[in-house]
């Protein structure tokens, strides 16, 4: 399945793009998607656990099993106000 992935804040600078598409086998989870993204964008790896992960408009853990149609967002810690 093809999962669209969007980047926000300085994750756009780290990856050099606002979004990409990552191909995963059926039943793949966010941990697998992150591993694939880090291969494509090695600087993403150094962000480690400070990376926040959303599917649609909700935060999800790395164990979340992705499905066709999911839209993943990866971004650094938030700081509104």
């Amino acid at each position: 399945m093809k999962i669209p992935v969007h980047f926000y804040s300085y994750f756009k600078d780290i990856t050099g793009c606002t979004d990409t598409v990552i191909e995963l086998p059926e039943g793949g989870d966010i941990a697998q998607l992150l591993a694939a993204a880090c291969l494509r964008f090695p600087k993403l790896h150094s962000m480690g656990n400070s990376t926040l992960i959303a599917v649609g408009v909700n935060y999800q853990p790395k164990s979340y099993v992705l499905k066709e149609g999911d839209r993943v967002s990866l971004f650094p810690p938030v700081q509104g106000g």
Binding site: Y8, Y10, L52, V57, S73, F75, V78, Q79, G80, G81
Partner: protein, 128 residues
């Protein structure tokens, strides 16, 4: 409970927001909080802050926070306006209204809203 969440690139007109304030029966406490961009960020002089948001998620997460507020405290109204894009120093980036029957609840709910926003609402700032 009344609620309103606005994310906008327009400057915030605080007196107009207050004048358009929720008029509610039997609410004893009204708090307005304004967050203003300071001239310095982490000790470095800046001319303003560029705010970026993942707007759909920000709206959703703010709604979840307000759901939690209405479960925890008796609150009549929560309104939040966050400015996005370029905000020069000394201009308002965040405006919050909380109306509650009693003062204690209004302060707790207002601080909870802002604390949680800073933890989980996808808005980022870039001082320039």
């Amino acid at each position: 409970m009344q609620r309103s969440i606005v994310l906008t690139t327009d400057p915030l007109d605080v007196p107009a927001l207050v004048a358009a304030g929720s008029r509610m029966e039997d609410m004893g406490a009204v708090i307005y909080f304004s967050g203003v961009v300071r001239r310095t960020e982490n000790g470095i002089s800046i001319s303003g802050i560029e705010y970026e948001a993942f707007s759909a998620m920000a709206q959703h997460q703010l709604n979840l926070i307000i759901d939690e507020i209405s479960a925890r405290w008796s609150v009549g109204s929560v309104r939040l306006v966050h400015r996005l894009g370029w905000v020069p120093t000394n201009e308002t980036s965040l405006w919050v209204e909380v109306i509650a029957p009693h003062r204690g609840e209004s302060f707790l709910a207002c601080q909870f809203l802002i604390d949680e926003m800073k933890k989980r609402v996808p808005i980022w700032k870039k001082p320039i």
